[in-house]
Amino acid sequence: MIEFYNVTYGVDKTPILNNISLRIVKGEFVYLAGASGAGKSTVLSLIYMENLPDEGTVIIDRYSTAKIKQKEIPLLRRRVGVVFQDFRLLMDRTVFENVAFPLRVIGTKSKDIKRKVFRVLAEVNLSHVRNADPAKLSGGEKQRVAIARAVINNPFIVLADEPTGNLDDDSALEIMSIFEKINRQGTAVLMATHNQSLIQRFPHRNLYLNKGYLIKP
């Protein structure tokens, strides 16, 4: 369902990823570990196609970087939920509208939007700040808004870039249980993380990146 074939990617002749091949099947839960600057966020960016590989092919669902048309990219992204490392919230609207945005994009009815957003906000413990300005939230609260937005649209895979980095251990456990739950419902999860204790507590397949190379386990 997600396949990398000998993917190489660089910026300005600096290689960032070298000859990466990997496969994530439907409904799998996979960690992406590696030191700071190893290329984890870059791997994720190739999946939601913010970046395209210099060499090799990335295949996501029925889309291949070899032949995807530019106007198909939004359709791909609606099926992939992303928790960005720097959150990338829409700072010009409320928490509610941030979470609702992926539903607005596909033209969901207002009533359904309201119902779904309320449910997801409750799951991440943010019901009380739904009308707040995201800029004023604490780091962990922003992170949870990003998570809510990533899962609202029932994607087939959620890419989570360090989704517990700004969370205390209790909140991190809660968030992990949310990811476990959506994973049990059939959604694949690819989580870039440094949190070794989480990896040990919730064991799943682990991809390890080192300076742009995928290390065989």
Binding site: K71, P74, D92
Partner: protein, 286 residues
Amino acid sequence: MTFWFTLKEGLKGFKRARLATSISIVSVAFALLLLGLFMVFTANVDRLIGDLRSRIELEVFLEPVIEQSVGMKIASEIALMEGVSDTRFISKADAANRFEKQFGRNIYEVLDTNPLPPSVIIHINEGYRKAASVREIAGRIAAIDGVDEVAYQEDLLQVIDKYIHIVYLISGAFGGILLVIAFILLHNTIRLTILARKDIIQIMKLVGAKEAFIRRPFIVEGLLQGLIGGIIANALLWMAVALSRHYFFEAVVFPYIFFAVLVIVGVLIGIISSKMSVSKYLKAVL
């Protein structure tokens, strides 16, 4: 559904970027006001030139010995000719009065008889106030029995004919420059308001919004900026016209179509600029 969502989003864009949008509206209003002032100015210059042309008169000198009644018959004959709007008969006595005005002496002081010829002063219809047509009319009048000579300020007419082009050219060039300036100013302002939101545009794209979906509310916002700016410009322009009617000329010309022109120009620039700017940032990220 999508239409209303788009409109609502466009309106919300105002609140979301309140400062940028209000700065932009003020700029739009003032650039349009400028354009409006120039249009009013041009309309008034045009009216003035029309006035000048309407003052053109031909003086037809009749044979000095002609009977007054015959002279008046000739005058009414001329009045019926194509291109002539009205005629006024100047008798020998009227001519003597004019002589005194011009030379400061009563003609009867110097002479026993009045040697001045009677004449007919004629005005020309609007469509015929050009050097060529007037010359043609003068020719036809000169051919009438009893007419001695036709005099008119041909050189003035030629000057008007010649300079009118220049006046219109200058007005046109200035108006064109102004339109370009207003366009550039509005365009730049709207670009800057969207530049301030380029992150938002890029995030929307990364979250799966199609380009048209992202673009539409911004276009609506640009349209509304142009619309509101246009309305404010109209209000200011109307105030300026009312003030100048009160203090300077009551006769300031102001065609109401200008109101529509300003709003339309504002809205078009708003739409085009928003669309161009948003597209730029949509292209900046895959």
